[in-house]
Subunit: 418 residues, 2 copies
């Protein structure tokens, strides 16, 4: 069979499986998640054997040790994957939830009910544990999923998918509801992205290159997240101790993630009091500061920021700092350079806090809290399959609900239109 | 300026206008809608003069009289456009609505609030009154809109846009929140569809050709609706009088629209009693029946259906009819040939009604009511900007809410992540 034929066949099997998943009730889905978790633990020797082949190829291929760390499935990672599936089983089932129901003057009773999206294509890099996470979330929300992981994790992903499919079959669910594309050929991805009749949604997770490739080639809707250029604005009426803790946490606690702060905006009137001490705290944590001219005057040893620093996602211990003369200037800066991801204000002023929340066009906007809270678990969604920075369908962290849509149901008693 | 430069400039102006629209409260939007309505009435002579130029060009170009009818702006159509804007003003404002709020164990108060999508590109054919409708709905939902109508309506659309923009400016709102692309060049559309940084959503409305063109060329998310191949299934336990009225209404009341019935599925056990009389009623209304072999045996004079009739959207007084031996067969037929648009069952059986609602994967599923109710006004959304048959963001009729998204707002008191 040609590569295109194989992808078409997989998409068509996924569509059939999705139809089967539509009518499955929660206990059966939770039982399957439990069997999946048990399967991972029971077959851990097999998983580690296949994973070791991936790891040894990766070593030969000269992958960085960080990449090899992410690729390696230890007993601890396998236990965590199993625990993750159990946590998904414990979450409420979004499918079947009636989000509203009302009566029309002609007696029609109209409601909206949550249904699965259908077939989801999930494209990701490295980390084979994402295979299990994504499959669990798609199953719980009643969807079928086709997974395309990084080529360096192919053998690991295939054994994981085999275990997951077996658990589906053993629970009486369609085993093709979870499929991994069994090739490293990038053409397979291009074919997948054309199957708009069979696939309802594409979710890419990985570097900006992968996401731009997917967005450029897909005929299917894509929920994507390019980058997080997150700002904290320290207002003239901020509590400066609180501001220091929030900014420090937002930059230093985990600098390599999308919800870390990349630019700090400081109101001029408190900059003399706030910036020098803040900069010392950052310096002690190894943070390099790239400042505007006013920042440089207050922070000896800081580098001068260049234009490219303002829209940069450093993902590292580097911070751009700008002193602004008003909140308007901060809002304009965020509008120009921000990525609609996460922005925070630190203030004790009621009106400016309210205005910041209203006017900043980002998926998560916070008052007096760290940008690091843009996360499905932290915000209380229970799980997270990714973060969307485009506004269609989902804006911000995506949980189980975001893997569903609603249809209208109508109870009539013979109504016709006149 | 080059065509591409012009489109880029328009998109950039729209983005700026969208930022201005974000903070506008309801009274100001409703006042602008009122001024727009007044402007249309006051300047009706100008509108008719510009429209007459379009109509005369269309006549010279040999457009069909039906097309010319749709193009012509009479006093009645102008009054209806103005009344439509007043109706939009009377609808509730979706922006700012808090769809949920909860507290996290660490004290963070997390909520979701409705916000405008931003910039919408609206692509449509013929009918200049759609210009006014779409602009009104986008304004009320706090969005900026770029409109690209049919080339035959260019002069009409430009004068309408001028009147709408003036009303925006007179209300203190950004006048670039409504813009019409001032050219008939199709390249303009291609450029528009590339402006993914500036435009958040594309809504095409028109024939399947236009919609496929837009879907194939857009880098921006598209809410689309290819076609409506709607089914009514008459169950073995249907009330046959009610079934006859519903099927008649679904086919005959307005056959040229997307929510009209195209295929009727009839359970075998009542087909002998139901079909001959139903067919006579259809024949009297001029409906051509294309039936399966069992239908042909019961309906003398019916044509034999060919394979191409089952997925066909006739948009005419033509009906495909199939006798099925079970509801499963009806469900399979809908799964294979349906368009996820609108499906209805006629039955007095509780379990089968419930199962049909649950299993049919269409945007609107009805029990004992006509398919013609798939419509934003009829279902109680108050207005309609289109119908989506893809599941992302909106599935089914789209009202004002579907022109918004939600962002997360977080009230903290110094929380950081540990």
């Amino acid at each position: 069979m040609s590569l295109e034929g194989m992808i078409r066949e997989m998409a068509s099997e996924a569509r059939k499986a999705a139809r089967g998943m539509r009518r499955v009730e929660r206990p059966q889905k939770d039982a399957a998640l439990g069997l999946m978790a048990a399967g991972l633990k029971e077959r851990r020797a097999e998983i580690k054997r296949e994973n070791a082949k991936d790891v040894s190829m990766a070593r030969e291929g000269g992958l960085s040790s960080a990449m090899i760390d992410r690729l390696t499935l230890t007993d601890k990672v396998i236990d965590e994957m199993a625990a993750g599936l159990q946590e998904i089983a414990a979450l409420p089932d979004p499918v079947g939830q009636v989000t509203g129901m009302w009566k029309r003057p002609n007696g029609l009773q109209v409601g909206r009910v949550r249904i699965p999206l259908g077939v989801i294509g999930f494209i990701y890099e490295s980390r084979p544990n994402v295979t299990v996470d994504a499959a669990g979330l798609c199953l719980k929300s009643g969807n079928a999923v086709i997974l395309k992981g990084g080529s360096e994790a192919l053998r690991s992903n295939l054994i994981l998918a085999e275990i997951l499919s077996k658990a589906l079959a053993d629970s009486g669910l369609p085993e093709k509801a979870v499929q991994v594309i069994p090739t490293t050929d990038r053409e397979a991805l291009t074919y997948l992205l054309q199957m708009e009749e069979q696939i309802d949604l594409i979710i890419p997770r990985g570097g900006e290159g992968l996401i731009r490739f997917v967005a450029a080639h897909s005929r299917i809707p894509v929920l994507k997240h390019y980058k997080g250029v997150c700002h904290v604005y320290v207002d003239e009426e901020a509590d400066l101790t609180l501001a220091s803790d929030i900014c420090y946490n937002a930059k230093v606690q985990r600098p390599g993630v999308c919800n870390a702060m990349e630019t700090m905006l400081v109101h001029e009137s408190i900059s003399g009091k706030f910036l020098p001490a803040m900069a010392r705290r950052f310096r002690d944590a190894g943070v390099e500061i790239r400042g505007c001219p006013k920042t440089l005057a207050l922070v000896p040893g800081a580098k001068a920021a260049v234009e490219a620093d303002w829209p940069a996602e450093f993902l590292d211990l580097i911070l751009a700092v700008k002193v602004v003369s008003s909140m308007e200037e901060a809002l304009d800066h965020i509008e120009k350079y921000g990525s609609n991801h996460t922005e925070a204000i630190v203030t004790t002023n009621y009106d400016r806090g309210r205005r910041f929340l209203a006017e900043v066009d980002s998926s998560v906007v916070l008052i007096n809290a760290s940008t690091r809270f843009n996360d499905g678990f932290q915000l209380g969604l229970g799980a997270e399959i990714g973060i969307s920075t485009s506004k269609l369908h989902a804006f911000g962290p995506m949980g189980l609900e975001e893997l569903t849509t609603t249809k209208f149901i109508v109870y009539g008693s013979g109504q016709v239109r006149t």
